[in-house]
């Protein structure tokens, strides 16, 4: 290979620069050169990079990828929409298909296309856009910032409590060549405001897509956000997501992510507890069958005193799937009275599956209560025996135990309306195992 991937992507950007920047604020486009620079400075990591041992981006990006700089036509076929009533933002391959998709409610809530928001509310959007995402540390984030043309935008002004959930529905598909997409979202919850956000990533067909997705969520003082995410990608897809959450004083975030299926899924999540007295709860669940690969990398940064965080991620892997979890809890100097808990529990259902788990604590303050735990194991034979003694068949007992295993994750779905739906999806997935 004569030309590096990075060169190729840089050239793709440079030769389409006008099209990418069209209709977007000048100062936003001006800033792109710095992303080009940081992308060029830190090349896409390969498996030789410790943090990407289980997910080789060089390999994933290699080969021919089409990228379209205009919205693709929407798929004709019926889609498996989330059965949720809410403020919907629908995106196809990263674009809001209609150009007038920005809604402003009477109470000041704004939601819709990020592109339109940037045009119509330039100052508001740029006050928050790219303030939280790790453009310097993650080359995929810089790449997303470089190519960003559209996305989803949610803004809940001070003191407002959104009465319906925002549903960010990202769908991907293509009828011909393998395609690369960039998906972006920005959620801003102002002081004392409340928002429910449900994010869905879904492939609409069996085509090969490579999605580079970045989400920034900002919760101001006393704000409160519930964030659920449901991922249903096809087996030949690659989804690389960066979730950046920034919490200010006394704010609270309750999150649930369920990675039901996908080809390769890489998650970089960073939760910054950047004000006193924040609380952040995260529940995650992933499934791996066949050749699926799920690599979850989470950091919780306790930057200020008196914050509480809780993270629980569970996985069930079978077939030849790979499940990897790296969790880092960082407690800054002087972030006293921190309470942090993190756990990763895995059920390994086959010898050909692989499980890697690396929970990490990095602590620089002394008045803290931090703990973490990780387990890899199988079904509890004693519990199976107990259930069989009550007349429940062996297969059924195993299923029941798996339901039990995932139940304490899905039962923490922060949206009452979505809870049953998520549970059904998870149970249907277990039945396939």
């Amino acid at each position: 290979m004569n030309r590096s991937l990075e060169q190729g992507l840089s050239e793709l950007y440079l030769s389409n620069l006008d099209m990418i920047g069209e209709g977007l604020p000048g100062r936003l486009n001006a800033a792109r050169s710095s992303f080009l620079e940081s992308f060029n400075l830190s090349p896409l990591p390969s498996a030789r990079d410790e943090r990407y041992r289980h997910c080789d981006l060089q390999k994933l990006f290699a080969g021919e990828w089409e990228h379209y700089f205009t919205p693709s036509p929407e798929p004709g076929q019926a889609r498996n929409r989330l059965p949720i009533e809410g403020y919907w933002i629908e995106l196809y391959n990263g674009f809001c298909p209609t150009d007038d998709a920005l809604v402003v409610l009477d109470n000041g809530i704004i939601y819709g296309s990020l592109r339109v928001a940037m045009r119509e509310r330039e100052d508001l959007v740029l006050k928050y856009y790219n303030t939280v995402a790790d453009n310097d540390g993650e080359s995929v984030v810089a790449l997303n910032s470089l190519f960003m043309q559209d996305g989803a935008f949610v803004y809940v002004p001070e003191g407002v409590s959104a009465s319906l959930p925002f549903v960010l529905s990202f769908e991907y598909g293509t009828n011909d060549a393998a395609q690369m997409c960039f998906a972006r979202s920005l959620v801003v919850v102002e002081r004392g405001a409340h928002a429910d956000v449900v994010v869905s990533h879904q492939s609409t067909d069996n085509s090969r897509v490579l999605v580079d997705c970045v989400r920034e969520s900002i919760v101001a003082d006393g704000g409160n956000v519930n964030l659920s995410e449901i991922v249903r990608m096809n087996g030949s897809s690659t989804l690389i997501t960066g979730h950046y959450l920034h919490q200010k004083e006394s704010s609270r975030a309750d999150m649930l992510s369920v990675w039901l299926r996908g080809g390769t899924t890489r998650v970089n999540a960073r939760h910054d507890l950047a004000g006193r007295g924040c609380e952040s709860n995260f529940y995650g669940l992933y499934f791996g069958t066949g050749n699926e690969r799920t690599d979850i990398c989470m950091t919780v940064n306790h930057l200020q005193p008196d914050c509480t965080s809780y993270e629980s991620v569970k996985g069930i892997v079978s077939g030849e799937a790979v499940g990897a979890f790296t969790g880092r809890v960082y407690v800054a100097p002087d972030a006293q009275r921190t309470s942090a808990f993190q756990q990763n529990r895995n059920l390994q259902m086959s010898d050909t599956a692989k499980v890697y788990t690396e929970p990490q604590l990095e602590i620089y303050a002394d008045d803290v209560k931090c703990s973490h735990g990780a387990t890899v194991g199988q079904m509890d034979p004693e519990a199976i025996y107990y259930m069989r003694q009550r007349g429940i068949g062996e297969e059924e007992a195993r299923r029941l135990q798996m339901f039990g295993f995932v139940n304490d994750i899905v039962s923490h779905c922060p949206h009452d309306g979505a809870c049953d739906f998520v549970r059904e999806l998870a149970e249907a997935r277990i039945n396939e195992l």
Binding site: A383, Y385, Q389, L400, G404, N407
Partner: protein, 249 residues
Amino acid sequence: MLEVKNLHCTVEGKEILRGINLSVRTGEVHAIMGPNGSGKSTFASVLAGNQKYEVTEGEVSFDGMDLLGMSIEDRARAGLFLGFQYPVEIPGVSMANFMKLAVNEQRKYRGLEPLSAGDFLRLMREKSAIVELDSKLTSRAVNEGFSGGEKKKNEIFQMAMLDPKLAILDETDSGLDIDALRIVATGVTKLHRPDNATVVITHYQRLLDYIVPDYVHVLYKGRIIYTGDKSLALKLEEQGYDWLINQYQ
């Protein structure tokens, strides 16, 4: 109802049961006593079908069926209930779901329609009253976070739900305070009918004050070495096992 003939079993090559003979007819209550390590719990586990134990010799018939040839769940569905000494916790699986599945599996086995949700809830309420089980517990995960006493009550509650032909209660009285013991024991007594049978495994006479046995067996080194009536339990409480063991040897 239950006919055990010359039952031998080993665990990891070590012989634990060395020829047990026992016959239980409908309407009877049997108590099995014996010093620690004599094989009482093993006997119960073998009847339930725990695969940890290998049956090397003997036969067991239950209601005319070859019990040893049946799977654990089929034994249970046919009406054999084991009250566990240490009931296991099953995180994330709610009691209600668990019981509903167990009851309906049994009904299916017997060719009955599954219970409707309403009937099932009614049954839950009715049966939980027998052991004064806090209704909150039935909404929790199976045995998770239950106290020792609650776990044992839960076993009897499940017995009531499944209405077995033969209930084998393995040290159901251990770790209970006096009130809990009374509740558990009277629960078992209430469930006893002329058309079912109960085998209690215990260390103490105090349980037998409530559950009056027709026969008391003493198990020692994997064999039943003596069988008497309810007065035997009193005598054992007073004098211990030594006199019996000496007589046996």
